[in-house]
């Protein structure tokens, strides 16, 4: 009898502790740690767009700043884990709250932030980009359940063609060639797509058997060939001569680097921190990227693409930078 009593007591204490913790977690910061101004965001040049990660009621929402001043960040109602834009087209990847297994909403918006297309896909948001002509949006999500190991993860990179209204849920079906031979493997993963200005040529990282390849692909013919190794999360420069990427170090961290496509010469940027992001070209000379700080928060930094200079903090408490290039 005493056993039952003690157990019931223990269960009550533990259940109370759990419920207490859950309830206390509800009351997050009531005021924004970084002041914001609520308003309507429009997609235009000379502005920087990002995910507001400062604690407070507006955490996780899409925010915007004039690129050349330290004005108060303008916050729209739209929540985005990843955001990107080009030529009047924006893509927002937002995780559906409290849904398991996780589902990501892919939301495509026009210049005035009106929703043009919306699709729910399984997985958690990882990368998002828009082709320079604004006609194709593409993304990467992490999915669980289809890896060798029961708790393993894999990626799924997909795209949506706004002109043809055509959805490609995964580019894994694409014919791919490594060393001139058709490559088939059950463990192929793609991530980090980046399109060229013609809206046809694109690059992505393909991983298989512990190696990562940079794949140069043709959208119309839907095939690709591996060109370089250890080039992850590629980002093609506006002049299309170089690719910024994260290069894996032997210790498993990443170094933000740039490769010149004609010469294959690799330049390591002055950023020595572990950059786990698809870099963004602000223009032909400067890179933007999100970086996790020592406190676990995220900030947006910039660094020259040619290996010179030093990293500069652009926006604190922010992630997923986006600008209208060209």
């Amino acid at each position: 009898m005493r056993k039952i009593l003690v157990t019931v007591l223990g269960v009550l204490v533990l259940a109370g502790a759990a419920i207490g913790y859950v309830v206390s977690a509800r009351t997050g910061a009531a005021v924004n740690a970084v002041p914001v101004q609520n308003g309507t965001i429009e997609l235009g040049p000379d502005r920087l767009y990002f995910r507001n990660t400062a604690a407070g009621p507006d955490e996780g929402k899409l925010a915007s700043l004039p690129s050349a001043s330290s004005a108060v960040r303008l916050v729209d109602g739209l929540k985005c884990d990843r955001f990107a834009l080009a030529k009047g087209t924006g893509i927002c990847l937002a995780l559906q709250p409290g849904v398991l297994p996780p589902i990501t909403d892919v939301v495509v918006v026009g210049r005035d932030m009106s929703v043009v297309y919306k699709k729910s896909l399984p997985g958690t948001p990882s990368r998002a980009r828009v082709s320079p002509d604004g006609k194709i949006v593409y993304w990467t999500v992490f999915v669980t359940g289809d890896s060798y190991a029961a708790t393993g993860f894999s990626t799924r990179a997909g795209l949506y063609d706004l002109e043809k209204k055509q959805l490609v849920k995964s580019i894994e079906e694409m014919a791919v060639y490594v060393d001139g031979r058709r490559y088939r493997s059950s463990d192929i993963n793609y991530w980090g797509i980046t399109f060229a200005g013609d809206g046809n040529r694109f690059y992505a990282t393909m991983a298989s058997k512990g190696k990562t390849h940079l794949v140069e692909a043709d959208y119309q013919d839907f095939n690709g060939k591996a060109t370089l190794e250890n080039v992850e999360c590629p980002s093609l420069s506006p002049d299309e001569k170089r690719i910024a990427f994260k290069q894996r170090n032997p210790d498993g961290t990443w170094r933000l680097s740039v490769v010149e496509l004609a010469t294959r010469k690799i330049v390591r940027t002055a950023e020595t921190g572990n950059v786990d992001d698809q870099p963004l070209w602000r223009d032909n000379t400067t890179l933007l990227y999100g970086l996790t700080g020592s406190d676990g928060g995220s900030d947006i930094w910039s660094v020259p693409a040619n290996g010179s200079g030093a990293p500069v903090l652009v926006v604190p408490d922010a992630a997923s930078p986006a600008v209208l290039a060209r």
């Binding site: 056993k3 039952i4 003690v6 157990t7 223990g10 269960v11 533990l14 259940a15 502790a17 759990a18 913790y21 859950v22 309830v23 977690a25 509800r26 997050g28 884990d81 995780l95 709250p97 409290g98 849904v99 398991l100 297994p101 996780p102 589902i103 729910s120 896909l121 399984p122 958690t124 948001p125 990882s126 992490f142 999915v143 669980t144 359940g145 289809d146 060798y148 190991a149 029961a150 708790t151 393993g152 993860f153 894999s154 990626t155 799924r156 849920k169 995964s170 088939r184 493997s185 059950s186 463990d187 993963n189 991983a207 512990g210 498993g252 786990d276 996790t292 676990g296 995220s298 992630a319």
Partner: protein, 409 residues
């Protein structure tokens, strides 16, 4: 030669064949609660890593392969330790405790990849340590003639926990407005409740046979001198070697039947649902008609499922059939094998024996997964599936014809 089960290991007060012992129900309850806790974390871990911490979870996939091998060896340690000190409940309790503590470890690890890896390793080690002593306890707490039913009840309760886990995680995420640490804290509290139930309601079952002094390490391998048990281990490993891991089967289903990606995460639920419904009936069937027979029959069902996957028919109903057969396979094999192994093992070495057979099976499955991945790459999916289906059929028929299940009187 050992002849085990000389006497009924009864703690049952009810009529034989009607009820399972209170100890089995208590162990089932512990597993149910623990599985809620474990599956909560499994369900939110990818979210936590990617969205919460901004990490790249692909790194964890690599770690996971390493853990699988390590868990197999930890299992042997747990089994031996339990027998050596004649403390099944204590060793199982340590395993459950380690897994519970690892839930708080996730909070402490912060965003450090090595620390999170270490915490997940502790969780896996806890799972490895507890499994064999727990199964030995179930076995020793049951009437020899209703072992199949006991394991069926335990596995069904375990699966209920696995079903509830993601639901509880969703409720916590909803209640805490998407706070991941709330999920870990709740998971820790639930896991601790599991340990409490174990401490309070599970009775240890010290063996009544064997020497009083600690059993030496070599006694585990000496179990393989029991011809019946040796054959059981050998065939179980051989059948595991020609198997298809769950993830490969689901991938194959997705490729062949064009299962939508939204539906994909639901496939394992189909298998688990059928397993849940059939674990007890098939356990009873095993008690009545022979455990090894049901075990072999389960593999015949699996071979049929593989045949359907690579067969000429298409349509969603084939995919449903495959899932149902996959669930039947689990219900006919998972607990049933332990029930079949029990009677061969002397009481004082039961945890060691269960660890041995589980480790053999786990290692064979690992090798099989690597080979399957290789074959898939070389020959593509359909030929690989056909080879495995035919191979499984051949080994199953051989196992059926050679009748290694002939049980001691």
């Amino acid at each position: 030669m050992y002849l085990a089960d000389t006497r009924a290991a009864g703690t049952t007060k009810g009529k034989i064949g009607r009820r399972v012992s209170g100890n089995v129900l208590a162990l089932g309850m512990v597993s149910l609660v623990t599985d809620i806790s474990a599956e909560m974390v499994t369900a939110v871990l990818p979210l936590y890593l990617v969205v919460g911490l901004g990490l790249n979870p692909l790194q964890f996939g690599l770690l996971d392969g390493l853990y699988a091998g390590a868990t197999a060896l930890v299992r042997l340690v747990g089994g031996h330790a339990a027998d050596r000190w004649r403390r099944l409940k204590a060793v199982a309790g340590i395993g459950y405790g380690l897994s519970a503590a690892s839930k708080l470890g996730l909070l402490a690890a912060g965003s450090s990849v090595p620390a999170i890896g270490a915490v997940l390793a502790v969780d896996r080690a806890g799972k490895g340590i507890r499994t064999a002593p727990r199964d030995a306890l179930i076995s020793l707490s049951s009437e020899p003639e209703s072992l199949g039913r006991s394991f069926g009840v335990h596995r069904a309760m375990d699966t209920i926990g696995a079903f509830l886990g993601p639901l509880v995680a969703m409720v916590v995420l909803w209640g805490s407005l998407g706070d991941y640490s709330s999920v870990f804290v709740t998971s820790f509290c639930i896991a601790t409740i599991g340990v409490l139930v174990l401490v309070a309601f599970v009775r240890d079952r010290p063996p009544t046979d064997g020497p009083a002094k600690p059993v030496p390490v070599r006694s585990m391998l000496q179990l393989l001198r029991i011809p019946g048990f040796r054959r059981l281990c050998g065939w179980a490993a051989a059948l595991a070697l020609i198997s298809v891991t769950d993830s490969f089967l689901y991938l194959a289903l997705q490729r062949n039947f064009d299962v939508s990606t939204t539906m994909f995460p639901l496939l394992p639920l189909g298998t688990a649902g059928v397993y849940l419904l059939l674990a007890v009936p098939l356990g009873r069937l095993a008690d009545k008609y022979g455990r090894w027979r049901v075990f072999v029959g389960g593999h015949l069902v699996m071979a049929t499922a593989l045949g359907l996957v690579c067969g000429p028919f298409a349509g969603w109903w084939i995919a449903v059939c495959v899932l149902v057969l996959h669930g039947v396979f689990y219900a006919a094999t998972d607990g049933v094998l332990m029930a079949a192994a029990g009677p061969w093992l002397p009481e004082h070495l039961r945890a060691s024996g269960m660890a041995l057979i589980q480790t053999g099976q786990a290692l064979a499955r690992m090798v099989s997964a690597v080979l399957f991945g290789l074959a898939w790459t070389l020959w593509d999916l359909r030929p690989t599936m056909i080879v495995v289906a035919v191979g499984l059929l051949v080994v199953t028929i051989a196992a059926a014809l050679l009748k290694p299940w002939e049980k001691p009187a």
